[in-house]
Amino acid sequence: MSEILQSSGERQELVLNMGPHHPSTHGVLRFVVHTDGEIMRRAVPDIGYLHRGLEKLAEGCSWAGYMPFTDRVNYLEAMFTNLAYARAVEKLLALEIPPRAQYLRVMACELNRIASHCITLGCIAMDLGAFTPFVYLLRERETINDLIEELCGNRITHNYMRIGGVAFDVDESWLKKVSAFLYHFEPVIAEFESLIVANEILAKRMAGVGVICAADAVAWGLVGPNLRASGVDFDLRRDQPYAAYDGLQFSVPVGRDGWVHPDSVVGDCYQRFLVRVEEMRQACKILRQCIAALPSGEIMAKVPKALRPPRGEAYAAVEGARGEIGCYVVSDGGPQPYRVKWRSSSFSSMSIIEHISRGLMIADLVAVIATLDVIAPETDR
């Protein structure tokens, strides 16, 4: 059929517009899809619908006052964005963070990682037609939201980190609740696996689809679970440790051929899905260690009330749920940041979609977007 079209000299193409309104929760994104029937020729992303000028806003805020804005860079992993900004400024100030604060930071981040992965995995399943796992994981996320609400007062945009430490301390009852949640949650991961992870239909939808080889992943700037699923064994927590990660034991899942399903290859959608499931389990492990090892002490370093970091610049990255979230901060010695730039994983993930979308079907595009875990606020800032 395609030969007939080509020989007639006419490129018959259907141009479809996906979004910006669409019933999946990846945010406000738009794709202009050029298709030849079912097979796509190009899927051109169009971003900017959620551009709020967060980087420009920083130049009008005080150093400490910018922290609530950092939540909005990615509201699903607000702890990580808080932490990236705090670490960047702390680098400029050369602050020493007390150990209790470091452990609390790790705990907050890992709880946030589990919550974020709940959404991601649920959305992947939902986009592929399985509505139930999404609801189960959201039910678990509700408990995490409650725990975090008890910690810092907010369910989503946490504003928990401060420059120099964390905002609020925890007590025994909160730690007990986190323990109780973990005892409840780990069998839920097992239930999720038996329900949907090894499901033949899901595996067939995702195995071998949207393969990104390791060289491409590195060259296009993919990070986090996307990068690890493509076979690059790198995790900021283990390889460039920050906060209290240095002493903690956890394994980092990396993609491998034939993982769970024989058709699965390194770098396909299924591996990106599996990496995240395993990461949830590892996050639980880290949390248990933190609860056991939480030292006593201060939760904030000695920081002057009006921050004026010396002239200079710093880049700090944390391993967020979607990968490396980096904050590049430039100071001119004044009370307000001179420039704040966010390095978000979704920005790079979006840029690679056009590159890998040739030859995929429209239904595969949905799987690719979902497994690359593209979040609009992080893409647009």
Partner: protein, 169 residues
């Protein structure tokens, strides 16, 4: 490799003197300044050289410096194999902000450079698809510039609202 060694290696490869600077109180990150005409070449060498192998472009940012009358392009690089990082900077003049694109070195730079073009107005030669990315195609001005004036309205929609009654102005 340490920052000084990286700088020395880059000097060897580019066969020219480079400057390494750091912030006021020696805190934060230091950077290597690359002359503008050697920008792409330096990036390519940074990626390809055996000792450097900076195959990961972490971030490519632009910083507007009206005081020095230039716009800085800051590239944060990282190497997975050697586990070292470096910051390369180059300066583009504000009157004629044109730089060479590094898309041929790292495909990730495509969208970073589009963003710098969009928000700061820097043109990149040899960029495959240089157009605005975050803002609408017909938006006037480049917001991240320090002298940016927000237009009063865009296509008839006002860009600010009057403050509600009773609130602090």
């Amino acid at each position: 490799m340490e920052a000084s060694e990286i700088k020395k290696r880059l000097e060897e490869l580019l066969s020219s003197e480079l400057v390494w600077k750091i912030g006021e109180k020696q805190t934060g990150d230091g950077w290597v300044e690359i002359p503008l005409e050697k920008w792409t070449e330096a990036c390519r060498l940074a990626r390809d050289d055996e000792k450097l192998l900076f195959e990961f472009l972490r971030a490519l940012s632009g910083v507007d410096r009206p005081g020095e009358n230039n716009i800085e392009l800051v590239a944060h690089l990282f190497s997975y194999r050697h586990r070292h990082a470096v910051v390369l900077k180059t300066k583009v003049s504000r009157e004629n902000p044109v730089a060479a694109s590094v898309c041929s070195v790292w495909p990730a730079a495509e969208w970073y450079e589009r963003e710098i073009f969009d928000l700061l107005g820097v043109n990149f030669r040899e960029h495959p698809d240089l157009r605005r990315i975050l803002l609408p195609e017909d938006w006037p001005g480049h917001p991240l510039r320090k002298d940016y004036q927000q237009p009063a309205s865009y296509r008839g929609i006002p860009t600010s609202r009057p403050a509600p009654e009773g609130s602090a102005s």
